[in-house]
C-alpha cells in the first residue's frame, strides 16, 4: 500500500481515537464509570487493532498515538492535558512494542485462544503503563513534584483496575479480527481520500468546537 494512503489512515484513525478520548472519555469520567479501562480496552486497543488488521503495516499505531495525543492537547479541560496527551502517545508506542514480533497478516491469531490472549496482554499492559506514565508525568510537571512512594502505594490499585481493561481487550481483539477479509487497498482513491480526510477534519472541528463551548460556558 502506498505511503500516502497509510498516512491518511494514521490521521483518520488517530483522529477518531483522539475524539473518543476527549468527548466520550470525559463523559464516562463525569458518569463515574471506569473511563480509563473502557477507553483503553475498547477504543485504544480496538482502533489500533483495526488499523493493524486493515492495513497490515507496523508503525501506524505509533503515528495514531501521536495524532490522538495531539488532538487531546486541544481540549485542555480534563486534568493535566499534557500528561494525558503524552500517556496516549505512550500507549501507541507500547502497542507497537507488544505487537512487534507478530506477522503482518496476523496468521498467529487464527485460534481464539491467541486472539483473546493478545487482547488481554495489549489492554492490560497499555492500561497499567499508561496509568503509570500519567502518575509520573503529572506531578513532574506540577509544582508539587514526583514522589516515588505515592506511585508504589497506589500500584495495587492500578494493577487491579487493569483487570477490567484486560477483559475488555480480550473481547475487542477477536471482534476486530472479523475485519480480516476487508481490503482497504481496493477502495477507490477518490472515495478513500475524500471520506478519510472529511471524517478526520470533522473530528478536529468537533474537538475545537467543544473547547470553545467549554470556554464560553
Amino acid at each position: 500500500m502506498d505511503k500516502k494512503r497509510l498516512l491518511v489512515g494514521v490521521v483518520l484513525f488517530g483522529s477518531l481515537w483522539g475524539l473518543s478520548e476527549v468527548v466520550l472519555g470525559s463523559y464516562l469520567r463525569d458518569s463515574s464509570l471506569p473511563a480509563g479501562a473502557i477507553m483503553t480496552g475498547i477504543f485504544a486497543v480496538g482502533l489500533m487493532m483495526m488499523t493493524r488488521v486493515l492495513y497490515r503495516q507496523p508503525g501506524m499505531q505509533l503515528g495514531m498515538g501521536l495524532v490522538a495525543g495531539g488532538l487531546r492537547l486541544f481540549n485542555p479541560f480534563v486534568g493535566c492535558f499534557i500528561c494525558s496527551a503524552i500517556a496516549i502517545m505512550a500507549e501507541g508506542a507500547f502497542f507497537e512494542l507488544i505487537w512487534y514480533r507478530m506477522s503482518r497478516d496476523l496468521n498467529e491469531l487464527h485460534k481464539p485462544t491467541m486472539s483473546i490472549s493478545m487482547g488481554v496482554i495489549s489492554a492490560y499492559t497499555l492500561y497499567v503503563l499508561g496509568f503509570i506514565v500519567t502518575q509520573v508525568l503529572t506531578p513532574l510537571l506540577s509544582s508539587a513534584g514526583f514522589h516515588f512512594e505515592n506511585l508504589v502505594m497506589f500500584l495495587p490499585q492500578i494493577l487491579s483496575k487493569g483487570l477490567f481493561a484486560a477483559l475488555l481487550g480480550g473481547i475487542t481483539v477477536p471482534v476486530t479480527l472479523l475485519l480480516k477479509n476487508v481490503d482497504v487497498s481496493h477502495v477507490a482513491d477518490k472515495i478513500y481520500y475524500t471520506a478519510s480526510l472529511s471524517v478526520s477534519a470533522l473530528c478536529w472541528v468537533a474537538v475545537v468546537l467543544n473547547t470553545f463551548l467549554m470556554l464560553s460556558a
Binding site: 508539587a144 514522589h147 484486560a166
Partner: protein
Amino acid sequence: MGKERLIPLVAMVLLLVGSFSSLYVYTVEGNISKADAISINGHSYTMDQIFSLTKQRTIITDDGNFSGAALDDLIKNTGVSCGSCHTYTIIGSDGYSKTVKWENMQHGVLTEGKKVVFLNLPKAFRVRNVISIEVK
C-alpha cells in the same frame, strides 16, 4: 517456547496479577475503618473537630467551586509550627496518595465529603475519602 504457548501463558499471568491485586485492594479497603476520623500528623481528628479548628476557604476551579477547611490552617492548628519546613502526604482510603508542598497546602481545602482539592495543582492531586495527612 513457541508463541502459541507463551502468549496464553503471559495473558494468564497478567489476569492473575490483576485478580490478586483486586483481592488485595478489596481486603485492605475492607479493613480500613469507616469512622469519621482523619489522622493528621499521627493524631486522630473527627470532621467536626477539623471544621471547628480551622477557617473555611473556597477555591474556584475549572469544574466548580470547592469549600472546606483550609489545609494550611488545619496543619498549623494541629501542632505543626513550621509549615514550610515539611512536605505533606495526603492518603485516601483506596491507597491513592499525593505528596505536596506547603505552597500547595496554602491553596488547598478539605471538603466535608473528605476530599482534598488544590487550586494550583492538576486534578490528579485530588484525593478522595482522605484517611490520613502525614507530615514529613
